[in-house]
């Protein structure tokens, strides 16, 4: 069995030890205090998201339905699709500078590397804006990656933060105990200019998952099962809070897959209370962690709904087209023949996703009728997957490995579907035409199910392969 991607660290152990010491001891006890930001949250029968919005708006007690203005955004994100319009709008506001260049991230991922002349022009706009405004969180192709994997991996996402992004999957960052939600370009422009954004305090839903997940059952199967239960509108305008022993046992990457898809149930955000796993993940990636206290949901807080799941009953599943909520056991869709198997995206292009797929594909061949496309979400993941031998396994199996991009997930480029084609995909949306032709079909699945299906040529429960 290959090594699972739990120890997915990119800095030295000494640095980690030093940072963790400072983190634990705090600024008061540490002479070289690199921890300057300390956020203390109170106890007032609030959920974690209510505490975050209360803190950021300077309101002690908030409750669902209240409109608050976050006065100090920690991070504003735009990409090469939403960024150019945001930049255009920013210039029309009439301010000279962004509110804080260190709190803005510009990521070229949707149509990058440049798909055509028009998308090249869009990337150029980000490049020039980064230079003009002195924005450091901008990465050239070769060092870039898919935004929602790249930013946490680069140490820019921390517990206690308030983050807005002009991309609907910005809700991913809740996996680290941040409040993070998607906005549009004009709103991102105003956020870049003012550092402020208004929010309606959302109701919270608690999704408690307990028990041990079975073999080849992943966090993707868990979130598809949750959305299957509550529907694509099941958490509209709400916060989806994930807890329970199953979530506690998950890596940050697995939690991120769950929070990433909160939007597919209509949620404003997904969130997991930060714990030792979160703290370790962040400490390994930044020299400036935020010290948070009491960033958890109070025992007597109010939830609009509570759902409980027994992890032992969750199976490998697929979401049938055209909605992420059409969740059925993968075994029940085994009659569906596929043309393409896609492994990648902000949902499942992480090292542990490549790991589980490589484990299944080792020594196997992709079905002759199928094309498999693998896209590591960032260059760090790409390099690590290469060093661990995963990429060789994919190439030996007959899969294609491309460079980091969102491309195929949104039917952009690098894997667009023709009329009548079927794709089993580790992505997040299976709407009509999502990956190309309006006459194509997308079945959402975990990386394990994608790999198993690539081998057999039809949708396959990975437990039947190994």
């Amino acid at each position: 069995m290959l090594e699972a991607g739990k120890d997915n660290t990119f800095v030295t152990v000494t640095t980690v030890a030093k940072i963790r010491k400072e983190f634990n001891e705090g600024p008061g006890n540490c002479r070289s205090a690199s921890v300057l930001d300390r956020r203390v949250f109170g106890h007032d029968r609030m959920t974690i998201v209510e505490k975050l919005l209360g803190w950021s708006s300077g309101t002690e007690k908030v409750s669902p339905g209240m409109i608050v203005e976050s006065r100090r955004l920690d991070l504003v994100l735009v990409n090469d699709v939403t960024g150019p319009l945001a930049i255009d709008q920013f210039r029309k506001i009439g301010v000279e500078r962004v509110f804080d260049p260190s709190k803005i991230a510009l990521v070229m991922d949707h149509y990058a590397p440049n798909k055509d002349v028009m998308s090249a022009a869009q990337c150029t706009m980000l490049r020039e804006f980064a230079r003009e405004m002195g924005i450091k969180s901008f990465w050239e192709i070769g060092r870039c990656g898919i935004e929602h994997v790249l930013l946490p991996e680069s140490g820019l996402v921390k517990p206690g933060m308030i983050i807005v992004g002009a991309d609907s999957h910005t809700c991913t960052y809740g996996a680290l105990g941040a409040f993070a939600t998607g906005i549009g370009s004009t709103e991102a422009a105003v956020a870049m200019a003012t550092g402020k954004c208004w929010f309606r305090v959302p109701e919270s839903q608690l999704h408690r998952i307990d028990g041990r997940l079975g073999r080849y059952v992943t966090s993707k199967d868990v979130i598809l099962t949750v959305i299957g239960k509550i529907g694509v509108e099941g958490a509209s305008y709400m916060s989806m809070e994930f807890s329970g022993s199953t979530v506690r046992a998950m890596s940050v990457d697995s939690r991120a897959t769950m929070c990433n898809m909160a939007i597919e149930a209509g949620a404003k955000c997904g969130v997991v209370e930060p714990d030792e796993t979160t703290i370790r993940y962040v400490a390994e990636r930044t020299a400036k962690p935020i010290r948070v206290e009491n960033l958890c949901s109070d025992e007597d807080c109010t939830y609009a709904a509570r759902f409980e799941f027994d992890a032992r009953t969750i199976e490998p599943v697929v979401a049938l087209p055209p909605l992420p909520s059409n969740c059925v056991p993968a075994a029940d869709a085994s009659h569906v023949e596929i043309d393409q198997a896609f492994l990648g995206s902000c949902t499942n292009g992480k090292l542990e996703d490549l790991c589980i797929a490589a484990e299944l594909l080792k020594g196997e061949k992709v079905n002759p009728r199928v094309r498999m496309i693998v896209i590591p979400a960032t260059w760090r993941i790409y390099r690590e997957a290469m060093q661990r031998g995963y990429l060789s396994i994919f190439l030996d199996a007959g899969a294609c490995v491309s460079c980091p991009t969102c491309g195929p997930c949104l039917g952009g480029h690098m894997g667009v579907l023709a009329d009548g084609e079927v794709c089993v995909s580790s992505t997040n949306r299976n709407f009509v035409g999502r990956m190309g032709s309006t006459k194509s079909e997308v079945y959402l699945a975990s990386p394990a199910t994608v790999a198993a299906s690539a081998i057999t040529g039809h949708i396959t429960d990975p437990r039947t392969i190994r």
């Binding site: 992004g165 709103e187 509108e233 952009g412």
Partner: protein, 161 residues
Amino acid sequence: MIGRAHIFADNVNTDIIIPAAYLNTYDPLILGKHAMEGIDPGFSSRVKSGDIIVAGCNFGCGSSREHAPIAIKSCGISAVVASSFARIFYRNAINIGLPALVSPDSGSAEDGDELEILMEKGAIRNLTRQETYRFAPMPGFLLAILNDGGLLEHTRKRLGR
């Protein structure tokens, strides 16, 4: 505000409002030509300025692309009425000055009906069927954004530019 109704079902998502193939531009004229192309090719050429979209629940679900409400507004639609909206689309619509009205009882309207929106009264009159639908009143600050013509103009005003 008077216009003909164009009826759509539940869960109209941003990928069908404006397919990703057109996201390499944000030019309203180009986007407007392709509005609703993923579900109804030719929609844009049938729209007369002032027409109104009436849809089911969860309108605009999916991506955060502001290109979606821009495409709708640019092809001539004056307002979107739906039983409910996905939140990012809702914010985006208001932010670009496109009224998004939550009206669960608008479901009896049919394609081509003539509708009149009475913003102050929170009512939509179906002139064809002699019916009236209510819509949820918008919070004051959202109405202010809409009345200023969108968030950009509203912010400029706030900052005294």
